[in-house]
């Protein structure tokens, strides 16, 4: 442990990140990876909007349009939103519960690399065969009869990324259950930790359904199975069930952590305890529970019958109740607070009305009878962008800006943050508000072209202009990041006057997070100490040696093996050799991991005391 900070070379830094098992660095990897795919998905969105800027446009071909819209959805959900949420969870969750590490640092790294290689795999399709073109939902039999290997890339790429997500989920569940600091009871956990915990439980029980669905799709396409081939007795509805048994909980996996971010942000910048903390926890659990029994609201028009449709309609509407509880709790937290309009707070204030609109159209869509009109129209597109962009994406950016100082030790320029917010926010409403009406007027989603003179021209034009605003906003954010990081001006450990444990340690935190395990004396532990103590967290243990996990290159290699094997399985014939090599690499690295004792190492307390000076606590 050298006390003099030396600038590491590029090679050393790269190796550091390739082999890291530190949750904070994995968080940064997720942030970079997720943001890269966010830009890619955004680019695809721009192509869609430019194609639809005018009637009968010939900007891109029909086939390419199908590929772009499929990849936009797939990328944004699986490769942008999920990893960005994992970025926040990795960066913050262990700090919020006073843990030195996650439960499974190795598995955590493996989860990231699986996601990364899965994402790369999906996008390799652009260059070798054409991207998947059956929509992000890949409904059978369209996905069965799609030519080329696009849909195979979809199935195998998502399969690999999905394994990673599942592992990440298990890691965070066990971290929360087993690794909390003394005094950090469940009902003292910050709401972001709670929502991340519940989202992880959802991942655990939802993703295996997707795993099976993707396997069946792969087997049908590549190995002659007949699951979705009606002429051989197959049933295409099975795919829809499996996909939505995963797919509906997935939207709560995306939104619950965003709810958590806003709960932290609103409470911090209203300088108040979160109103109705226990009802917030209860509502989170209830939403997750109900989230598993509503999947068929995506299938109202399939013909499941009036009884099934009614049950799923009522169950879906019921979710509005706990969600409404949350909205009111945020409003009551704001009520009478001393509000600071920092940029994360402005994101939160923008989120509340936007998400409420998305919730309202959700209840409209839940009415099974009315859904026959809305189904597969732009009304649906407008609805889910209101909840996913208006909820998840705003939440992710609020979280990134809010925790940026904790992750990097620097502060993004607030003025630019506000510019980003307003451009993005106004652009968002321009893009999607009019799409409600396009849908009600009968414009179907996923169509390559629309005809002129049907009253659709103006709203489509407005929608495209809005998308440009969002793009400009995002570019300002990137500019802000570059400027801030080149300047590299350091801020204190607690720049926002925070309430939770992560603000009690330096920014960025030392690799062992907490020199001594913190003693938690209440909800919002740092605030408790600021009000009742000396503003410093009391240690729960004497200074001692700290046990840390060893770094490892194995997660990277293990994931690389599956990536290589995927091509062999897909192309078969002479390419089977790739599958053999790939699976051998993965199996070999698993055996290596199993056979080599990995006991970690200890940081001695003498070395810790050396660093006493650099952490400005509190």
């Amino acid at each position: 442990m050298s006390t003099t900070a030396r600038k590491a070379g590029f090679g050393a830094t790269l190796w550091d990140y390739l082999t890291t098992v530190d949750h904070k660095k994995i968080g940064i990897l997720y942030l970079i990876g997720g943001f890269f795919f966010f830009l890619l998905g955004g680019l695809e969105a721009m192509l869609i909007r430019i194609q639809l800027i005018a009637p009968d446009n010939e900007f891109i071909s029909a086939q390419f349009y199908n590929e772009v819209l499929t990849m936009h959805g797939t990328t944004m959900i699986f490769l942008a939103a999920m990893p960005l949420i994992f970025a926040l969870m990795n960066a913050v969750l262990p700090l919020q519960i006073g843990a030195r590490d996650v439960a499974f640092p190795f598995v955590n790294a493996l989860g990231f690399w699986l996601f990364f290689f899965g994402g790369v795999m999906l996008n390799v399709s652009w260059f070798v065969t054409g991207a998947p073109d059956a929509g992000w939902t890949a409904y059978a039999p369209l996905s069965i009869f799609s030519e080329g290997h696009g849909v195979d890339f979809y199935a195998i790429g998502l399969q690999i990324a999905g394994f990673g997500t599942l592992m990440g989920g298990i890691n965070f569940i066990v971290t929360v259950v087993n690794m909390r600091a003394p005094g950090m009871t469940y009902m003292r956990m910050p709401l972001f930790t709670w929502t991340a915990f519940i989202a992880s439980v959802l991942i655990l029980f939802a993703f295996p359904a997707l795993t099976v669905g993707l396997f069946l799709l792969t087997f049908d396409r590549l190995f002659g199975a007949n699951f979705f081939d009606p002429s051989m007795g197959g049933n295409v509805i099975i795919w829809e069930h499996l996909f939505w048994i995963f797919g509906h909980p997935e939207v709560y996996i995306l939104i619950l952590p965003a709810f958590g971010v806003f709960s932290e942000v609103i409470s911090t910048f209203a300088k108040k305890r979160l109103f109705g903390y226990s009802s917030m926890v209860f509502a989170t659990v209830l939403i997750a529970f109900l989230g598993f029994m509503v999947w068929a609201h995506h299938m109202f028009t399939v013909g499941l019958g009036p009884i099934a449709n009614s049950i799923f309609a009522v169950a879906t509407m019921a979710i509005a109740v706990p969600t409404g509880i949350k909205i009111f709790n945020w409003l009551f937290t704001l009520w009478g607070g001393s509000i600071r309009l920092t940029s994360p707070m402005v994101f939160a204030l923008g989120f509340i009305p936007t998400f409420t609109i998305g919730g309202m159209t959700g209840v409209m869509l839940a009415s099974a009878a009315a859904d026959f009109q809305y189904h597969d129209s732009y009304f649906v597109v407008a609805h889910f962008h209101y909840v996913i962009v208006g909820g998840t994406v705003l939440g992710i950016f609020a979280g990134i800006i809010y925790w940026w100082p904790k992750m990097f030790g620097t502060m993004l320029n607030e003025k630019l943050n506000h510019w980003f917010f307003w451009l993005f926010f106004i652009g968002f409403h321009l893009t999607f508000f009019v799409q409600h009406f396009l849908g009600l007027m009968g414009m179907p989603r996923r169509y390559w072209k629309f005809q002129g003179e049907q009253g659709l021209d103006l709203f489509n034009l407005i929608s495209t202009i809005g998308a440009l605003f969002m793009a400009v906003g995002t570019i300002i954010f990137i500019y802000n990041v570059i400027v801030t990081q080149t300047k590299g001006q350091k801020v204190s450990g607690d720049p926002w006057d925070g309430r939770t444990l992560e603000w009690a340690i330096p920014s960025p935190p030392p690799f062992y997070n907490f020199k001594q395990e913190p003693l938690v004396r209440g909800l919002d532990p740092l605030w408790v100490e600021k009000m009742e103590g000396d503003g410093k967290i009391k240690p729960a243990e004497p200074l001692g040696d700290i046990h840390m996990p060893n770094r490892s290159f194995v997660p990277f290699v293990m994931s690389l093996g599956l990536f290589i094997a995927g091509f062999g399985v897909m192309y078969q014939g002479g390419y089977w050799i790739l599958a053999v090599i790939g699976f051998a690499i993965t199996a070999g690295s698993m055996l290596y991991r199993s056979f080599k004792d990995d006991l970690g190492y200890h940081v001695h307390k003498e070395d810790l005391e050396d660093e006493e000076g650099d952490g400005s606590n509190g």
């Binding site: 439960a103 002659g224 699951f227 081939d229 499996l242």
Partner: protein, 206 residues
């Protein structure tokens, strides 16, 4: 402290849960099995939806015979019991007997897998009941094949653990590894009980 992890003396009552790493593994693996349950539930659901979709191919009661499957069930159930003995000896810090019972468990696993391969071979060759014959056949081979792949993975896993720890005793580092491997083995067994009931008994009778 790191040395303590590899010491085989003075082990606590439950060495698999004595360390934080052990408790994490123990709990994480239970959650993993929760996810596996959803995985198999999805496969069972698919199978149930397609069990009568035989197209032109043979139906369940034409191909399935219960004798061999019953023997397989008994073999796998017994292997679960022998893995319990292995864990009992692990907790008593008796690595020799643990290895012996794990060895028996693995042997039974191989018998099961051998019978299963023979059974599939038989279906394909005597009944022309191949993977692509019908939606029913695809669903059958996928469900039962997933289980078989789990058995094969478990065998490699347990054999790996036995070889790695052949020359050393039980310690706080490897006890959780043995323990979760045995948990996995029980899980596979439970899944098979459902396969026996839903696929074979219901296929023969229902």
């Amino acid at each position: 402290m790191a040395d303590d992890m590899l010491k085989s003396t003075n082990l606590p009552q439950n060495p698999e849960r004595a360390t934080l790493e052990g408790r994490n593994k123990f709990m994480g693996f239970w959650f993993f099995l929760g996810g596996e349950t959803v995985l198999f539930a999805s496969l069972f659901g698919t199978f149930l939806a397609l069990r009568n979709s035989t197209a032109e191919g043979p139906a369940a009661n034409e191909v399935f015979g219960l004798e061999l499957v019953f023997i397989m069930t008994m073999v796998l159930l017994t292997s679960s019991l022998t893995s319990v003995y292995a864990m009992y000896h692990m907790k008593n810090n008796d690595p020799k007997k643990m290895q012996l019972w794990l060895g028996i468990t693995v042997a039974l696993g191989f018998v099961f897998l051998g019978f299963e391969i023979y059974e599939f071979y038989h279906y394909v060759n005597h009944y022309e009941f191949g993977y692509s014959t019908s939606a029913f056949s695809s669903a059958f081979y996928t469900l039962v094949g997933f289980h078989g792949a789990h058995v094969a993975f478990g065998l490699v896993w347990i054999i790996g653990l036995m070889i790695r720890n052949a020359k050393r005793g039980v310690n706080l580092y490897n006890a959780p590894k043995f323990y979760i491997a045995s948990l996995y083995w029980h899980f596979i067994d439970v899944v098979w009980v459902f396969i026996f009931t839903v696929v074979y008994l219901m296929g023969k009778v229902g």
